[in-house]
């Protein structure tokens, strides 16, 4: 009867429905998917493997052939932007993965086991988060040298603190909930309780955090590249914007424009997606 229709759909079904229904969200998902596609194609060499090729005059203006013109070496800005997309998406992805792995592992250990382990991990977290992230990034990049790997490393090692706090908090909350006590009562061990019972309830935080980290990483790469600590040899949005320092004075805006636009669109999409995910997945917001 009608009562059965009201049966609670699982959180995920409900979330998916709510995500699907908002046009902006669907559009953002599409954008992210599109960027991911470009990144993959570029990574596998299917497109823009020849981004470094000189195809025209230095600082050629945008034309029908080269939508965003050419850079100082006569290379296509569109090609560079596409290649840079690969870099950006990889930075976002790897940073996100690092963040999730470190943050979730440490956070769940701290929250679940409590006691000395928690004290130590919280001290560690406080220590790392006391140094402003930009200082940490500079410090790590400083000693690790320039390059894409440094970008991955520095961002990965410094972005996990927010997630750690959230996960730890959730584990503390859930640890004493009835369903976990019930699991203990029927003989569930620690690992089982962590993985099977609590983690799924915490997944939504991870997803939301991942999408927000992604875009933060992309923006950070730009800063690192400006500082000369970032990507070398391959174009990234950061290096393209950095080049604009000299170009703007000559009235050349196309590289800046392309990189800014490309970055803005995907970061905006991730922000919208992150917000929608939060609205859809956060059980506390239900019923507003």
């Amino acid at each position: 009867m009608s009562v059965k229709e009201q049966e609670s759909k699982s959180l995920w079904n409900h979330a998916w429905d709510s995500l699907k229904s908002d046009k902006m969200t669907v559009f953002s998902m599409g954008i992210v998917g599109f960027y991911a596609l470009i990144a993959l194609l570029s990574f596998s060499g299917v497109i823009v493997s020849d981004w470094a090729k000189e195809v025209g005059d230095s600082y050629g203006a945008p034309s029908s052939e080269h939508l965003f013109g050419l850079d100082i070496f006569g290379r296509s800005v569109v090609a560079k932007t596409a290649k840079a997309t690969e870099i950006a998406m990889s930075v976002g992805l790897i940073t996100g993965l690092f963040t999730v792995v470190i943050g979730v592992t440490l956070g769940s250990l701290a929250g679940y086991f409590g006691g000395k382990i928690d004290e130590f991990l919280v001290w560690f977290y406080t220590t790392v988060s006391s140094i402003p992230q930009i200082m940490l990034l500079i410090s790590i990049a400083f000693i690790a040298g320039k390059g894409l790997f440094t970008v991955y490393l520095s961002l990965g090692l410094t972005s996990w603190t927010g997630l750690f706090r959230l996960i730890r908090g959730e584990f503390i909350r859930h640890k004493n909930r009835e369903y976990v006590q019930a699991a203990t009562a029927i003989g569930g061990g620690d690992t089982r309780k962590i993985f099977k019972h609590i983690l799924p309830n915490v997944l939504h935080i991870v997803i939301i955090n991942f999408s927000l980290q992604f875009q933060f990483a992309i923006k950070s790469e730009v800063i690192l590249s400006y500082l000369g600590l970032g990507v070398q040899g391959v174009p990234s949005w950061g290096t393209m914007i950095n080049d604009a320092k000299l170009e703007l004075a000559r009235g050349v805006w196309w590289q800046l424009g392309a990189a800014t636009a490309a970055m803005m669109v995907v970061v905006l999409a991730f922000n919208i997606l992150g917000d929608s995910l939060r609205d859809a997945l956060d059980p506390k917001l239900k019923g507003k």
Partner: protein, 313 residues
């Protein structure tokens, strides 16, 4: 328990964290880092030259001593001398603090009032086109790299339109004003996006609370509800958020100072990066951590003072 003992207890906890920070900085700069002398002396340096330099820089000391040096510097605020300018680092910091603050302090005050006002306004008209539009604009503003704002701002408003000084700085009030105007504006624009989003969220949270319904049932107008009831409840969160940002004011904005030629701490850090000036970067890392820790304790104390619900444990 009263405030004094609470503060003392909190400060006690600061020590292990500070030791941890020193350890982390020590780890990065004294342990993991490749030998800085090689880049300082160039490829053709002889072994004895390297050794001599390392000796003079204190790099040959046993590691634990180097760690103790780091800790000592954190407690005495004596960070030694810069490798490139040979100045006393603490002197450099003192000199650089003022220019940084001429940008960040006014920007901080202004953006606080602007952001809170916009958020109140937007929360009041929640759900309306104005609200959604503002949120979208905030998110869009946040999606553009700060580098772009600086580049475009400098090129367009200062260079092309000549409305502001392109770069440079002049000490003394009011001479620095034309040089800091554009940086201040850019700083405010950078901050408004995330601030408004945060304030708006907590204001909306409060607006759906039961006591708002009670206030309405007493016959209070929506304006009074917003500006008296909701605002006071959100003030706690706002204050803690704001106070935690203060350490960043001291750091200055690396990018803004670098582009606009402001001789502040941010610019100092960048110069240090470019000249491999270890001690300066180390010092700033430790100092900014100390500032963060201190202001964290401050917000905890403020929280207790401002929110009648929070009991001292």
């Amino acid at each position: 328990m009263d405030i004094v003992s609470y503060v003392t207890r909190r400060l006690f906890y600061v020590i292990p964290v500070l030791l941890g920070v020193c350890f982390l900085v020590f780890l990065i700069f004294n342990v993991v880092s490749p030998d800085p002398t090689i880049s300082m002396l160039g490829k053709h340096a002889t072994k004895s030259q390297i050794l001599e330099l390392r000796e003079s820089l204190g790099l040959n000391k046993p590691l634990w001593l180097q760690y103790m040096d780091t800790v000592k510097s954190a407690f005495t605020f004596d960070f030694g001398r810069s490798w490139s300018t040979k100045q006393e680092i603490m002197e450099m910091i003192k000199q650089g603090a003022i220019p940084s603050l001429t940008v960040t302090f006014p920007a901080f005050i202004l953006s606080f009032f602007i952001s809170v006002s916009i958020s109140l306004f937007v929360a009041f008209y929640r759900g309306s086109f104005l609200d959604k539009g503002t949120v979208f604009i905030c998110v869009a503003l946040m999606s553009i790299s700060s580098l772009v704002y600086i580049l475009v701002g400098q090129w367009f408003f200062a260079f092309k339109l000549g409305l502001f000084e392109i770069s440079g700085y002049e000490e003394g009030f009011p001479y620095f004003i034309p040089y800091v105007l554009l940086p201040i504006i850019i700083w405010i624009i950078l901050g408004v996006g995330p601030d408004v989003r945060f304030y708006r969220t907590i204001m909306l949270d409060e607006m759906y609370q039961d006591y708002v319904r009670t206030a309405r049932s007493k016959g209070l107008s929506e304006t009074v509800i917003m500006f008296k009831h909701v605002l006071k409840n959100t003030m706690v969160s706002i204050i803690t958020y704001v106070v935690l940002r203060i350490p960043f004011l001291i750091l200055g904005s690396l990018l803004i100072e670098s582009f606009f030629g402001i001789p502040g701490l941010g610019g100092m850090i960048l110069k240090a990066v470019n000249s491999s000036d270890f001690p300066v970067i180390k010092a700033m890392a430790v100092l900014s951590a100390i500032a963060t820790i201190v202001f964290n304790v401050l917000t905890d104390v403020l929280y207790v003072v401002v929110d009648p619900r929070v009991k001292l444990k």
